[in-house]
Symmetry: C2
Subunit: 451 residues, 2 copies
C-alpha cells in the first residue's frame, strides 16, 4: 500500500524497467495484479506472468476477467495451463475451459487428474448462463439423521472446500435435499442432537437449467450467500455461490444497457473492431430502413416544404424531443420489467400515466421553445403560426412518443421477445414517422397549405 | 409450492376472499409475501399485514423494497412499527428509518431499547450511499493473542449474530484490524494455536465514507462475502455484507440506465407523476433548447430547402442515424468507464476506433439506403445527386457522431462530471447540429446551390 505510485503500473514497469518487476509485484495483492493484467498488452502480460511465479498464478488468474484469463490459458504451454487450472475451483475451471477452442480444451483436460476430468466434463455439459453452468459440486452435505457432532466432523474432514462454502446442506436417505444449516448453528448447538432438529427446512433451490438471471433474482431477494442446485428428483448436485451471482448481476446490467443502445450484448462484443461492427450493424440497418420509411411517408409534404421551408428547420427538434421522451418511457418500462418493479396489473395505468406525462412535458417544453423561437424570429413564418405549429407539434410528437415508448416493450414482452433488444429501432422509427406526420399535418391545417 | 395458482395473488385474495387470506399466506414464504406486498395497493397491503401475524412481520418487512417497507413503517401504529423494527438487523433498521420524516423517526426511535438507540443514531450519521451507511456493527472480532478455542467460544457466545456473518475478524491490543479468519478455519485447526497463526493478514478494508460503488467493486473483485469497515486509526467499526452489495449493484445499474435516458436516478423517481415529471423535465428542457440551436444553425439553408425540398425528407434519417451511432459509442464508453473496462491509457485509441467504426458503418448503411431510395425514386432530385448526398450525409453524420459520442463522456469524466447524467443531451444536440450542417453543406456543394 505504501509503495511508490509508479510501481503500480505493472505494464509500464514490465516493459521499461523489468528489473523492478518483482518488487512491484510484491507491493500488490493478487486481485490488484489481476485487474492490471485485464487491460494489459499481451507482451507485458507474459512478462508479468513469468515474474509472478508458480504459487501466485492460479489466484491471480482466478480474479481476472473470464475472457482475459481464457486468452492466457489458450496461449501458454499446455502443461503450465493445466497446472494453473487444477488449482482453481471446479466452476472457475469450467468457465475458463468453455471459452477455449475444442481442441485446446481436450488438450488441457487430458492433463488433469482422472477424478477431476469426470466432474469437469459433467459441468461442461451445462449452458454457462444457467445454474448448472454457474454451480460448483464442491459443497458439504450431511444426512438428516447425523448428529450435530457428526456433521461438524464431516466439515472438518473436507479439507479442500472452497472458501465460499458457508452452509451445510442436509439430505435424506435418498440423497434428496431436505434442509440447510450453518457452521455457526453446528458449533452452538448440543452436539448430540440430530441435525434434523437444528436445520431450516424452508429453503429455496434451483435446478441445473434455471436461468442465471433467475438465480441472481433469488439470491438478491432471499439474501443468501449460496443457492443449492438439485436434479429433477430433488437430489443435491452442487451450489451456486454469491460471488458468481455478483458477476452475473454486473454482466446482465451491462447487457441490458448495451442492448438498449443496439451496441451488442456484452462488453466483449465491443472490444475488437470486427465484433463491434457485427454487433452494431443489424440494429443500425434496421434504423436506416426505418429512416427511409420516414422519408417516404413525409414525401407528400414536399409542396408544403417548398412553400414554407422554415418548417424543415424544426423537424429535428420535433423528432428529437419525441425520441427523447420515447426513450425515457421505454427505459422506465424495460428496466421496470427487468427488476420486477412493473407487473402485469399495472400495465394499462402505466401507459396512461406515460402518455399524460408526455403531453404535459410537451406543453411545458413546447411553450418554452416556441416563446424563445418567436422572440428570435424566423424568416418566412409569422409569430402566431410559428408558436402554434411548434408547440402543437411538440405536444403531439411527445404524447405519441410516450405512448409508443411505453407500449412497444410491453407488446414485445407479451410476444416473448426480449424488450431490451428490440425496443430501440421500433420506437425510433415509429416516433419519427408518427411525430413528424402529426407535425406536418398540423402545419398544413394551421397554415392553410395543400396537404 | 404446490398451492393453487389463484391463492398466489395475495392482493386479490385480500380484497375479494379475505377468509382465504391466512391459507394463502401459509403457502408462501416470507420473501414471496414481501415481493407481492411491494406492488400492492395500500388497502390490500394493510389487510395482508394484519393477517400475517406478529411473528412473520419483521422478516417479511426485511425482504421488501426499502421504499415500500418505509411507507408501511410510516403508516402503522408507532408501537407496532417500533416492535417490528427492533427485530431487524441494525443496518436494515437504519436504512428504513432514513426514509422517514424526521418527526416520525424520532417518535419510533424513542420506543427502542436504550442500548439500540445509541447504535442506530451513530449509523444514521452516515451517508446511505457509503460503507458507513451500508454497514452493520454486528460482527465478531477476537484478539490476535486469543487461542483458536477461545475464538470459537467467542462465536458461540454471540447468540444474536446476523445470518450473514461468516468471517471472524482479528484485532490487536489497540482494536486495530490485523487479520481475518473463518469459522471453518477455527473448527479445523489445533484449538491451542494462537489465532494470529491461523489468520489471513492480507485483507481489504474500507472506511465509513468509502462510496458504495467502490465497496461493490471490492466485493465483486475480491470474491468476499463481507468487507470490514474501519475508522482512520484502523479500528474495526463493522462490516458491509454481500446481500447489501447485491442490492447496490442492482440499484447502480438501474441508476446508470435511467440517467443515460434522462429519466431520473432511481425507479422511485419514476413512480409518481410529480417525481417523474421533475426528474425528466430538466433533461428534456436542455434537449429542447439544443433543438432550437439546431433550427438556428440550419436557418441559413432555408433557400436551399425551397429549391430542393426533398432534402428535408432525409433530415430525420441523417440526424437519427447520427444519434444512434452517437448513443452506441457513448454507451460503450460510459458503461466501460463504470465497470472499469476502459482506462486512461486506452482513451485515444478508443476514440479513434469509434470514429473509424462510425465511418465504416456509415458507408455500409449509407450505400444500402441510397440504393433503395434511388430505386424508389424521389421527386425533385436526380438519382446520382440523391445517392451522393444521402451516402455522404450518412457517412459524415455517423463519423462525427461516433467521435462526439465517444469523446463527450471522456471529457465529462475528466471534468469530474458524471458521464451517465450529462452525456445524453450534449451528444444529441451536438450530433444534430454538426451532422445536419455537414449534410446541407455537402448538398449545396453537390447540387451547386447557394449555401
Amino acid at each position: 500500500m505504501g509503495s511508490p505510485g509508479r510501481l503500480h503500473e505493472l505494464g509500464r514497469v514490465a516493459i521499461e524497467e523489468p528489473r523492478l518487476l518483482s518488487r512491484a509485484l510484491a507491493h500488490l495483492d493478487n486481485v490488484q495484479v489481476a485487474a492490471q493484467l485485464d487491460t494489459m498488452e499481451i507482451g507485458a502480460q507474459d512478462l508479468v506472468l513469468h515474474a509472478l511465479g508458480v504459487a501466485r498464478r492460479p489466484s491471480v488468474l482466478e480474479h481476472m476477467r473470464l475472457e482475459s484469463a481464457a486468452s492466457i490459458v489458450a496461449r501458454i504451454a499446455p502443461d503450465d495451463a493445466a497446472a494453473i487450472l487444477e488449482e482453481l475451483e471446479l466452476d472457475d475451471i469450467t468457465d475458463i475451459l468453455q471459452q477455449l477452442e475444442p481442441e485446446r480444451l481436450r488438450e488441457l483436460l487430458s492433463r488433469f487428474n482422472p477424478e477431476d476430468i469426470e466432474e469437469v466434463e459433467e459441468l461442461l455439459t451445462y449452458d454457462p448462463a444457467t445454474a448448472g453452468g454457474l454451480m460448483t459440486p464442491e459443497t458439504v452435505s450431511v444426512r438428516d439423521e447425523a448428529t450435530v457432532a457428526e456433521a461438524l466432523r464431516t466439515v472438518q474432514q473436507k479439507d479442500e472446500l472452497p472458501d465460499q462454502v458457508f452452509y451445510v446442506y442436509v439430505v435424506d436417505e435418498d440423497e434428496r435435499l431436505v434442509g440447510v444449516t450453518s457452521l455457526r448453528i453446528l458449533v452452538t448447538r448440543n452436539p448430540d442432537l440430530p441435525v434434523r432438529e437444528v436445520m431450516r427446512t424452508s429453503l429455496v433451490s434451483v435446478t441445473v437449467d434455471t436461468d442465471q438471471e433467475e438465480v441472481a433474482h433469488i439470491v438478491s431477494r432471499y439474501d443468501v450467500v449460496s443457492v443449492p442446485v438439485v436434479d429433477s428428483q430433488g437430489s443435491l448436485l452442487g451450489v451456486v455461490t454469491v460471488d458468481d451471482v455478483v458477476d452475473v448481476l454486473r454482466e446482465e446490467a451491462t447487457e441490458d444497457i448495451l442492448k438498449m443502445a443496439g451496441a451488442g450484448e456484452a462488453i466483449t462484443d465491443t472490444q475488437t473492431f470486427g465484433t463491434s461492427f457485427r454487433a452494431r450493424l443489424p440494429w443500425l440497418m434496421g434504423a436506416a430502413f426505418g429512416g427511409l420509411l420516414v422519408a417516404i411517408s413525409l414525401s407528400r409534404f414536399e409542396e408544403a416544404l417548398r412553400t414554407v421551408p422554415v418548417l424543415a428547420l424544426f423537424m429535428p427538434v420535433v423528432a428529437g424531443m419525441g425520441g427523447n421522451v420515447g426513450t425515457q418511457s421505454s427505459t422506465i418500462v424495460v428496466r421496470g420489467l427487468a427488476v420486477g418493479y412493473v407487473n402485469r396489473e399495472m400495465l394499462r395505468s402505466l401507459v396512461l400515466r406515460e402518455v399524460s406525462l408526455g403531453a404535459l412535458l410537451g406543453v411545458v417544453t413546447g411553450l418554452s421553445v416556441s416563446a424563445a423561437a418567436a422572440t428570435l424570429g424566423f424568416e418566412g413564418i409569422e409569430t402566431l403560426p410559428l408558436v402554434g405549429v411548434l408547440t402543437g407539434g411538440l405536444v403531439g410528437s411527445m404524447t405519441i412518443a410516450a405512448g409508443v415508448g411505453a407500449g412497444i416493450p410491453l407488446v414485445l414482452e407479451r410476444m416473448q421477445i426480449d424488450p431490451a433488444v428490440a425496443t430501440g429501432p421500433f420506437v425510433t422509427t415509429a416516433v419519427d414517422v408518427l411525430g413528424l406526420l402529426f407535425y406536418f399535418g398540423l402545419a398544413t391545417v394551421l397554415l392553410e397549405m395543400p396537404g
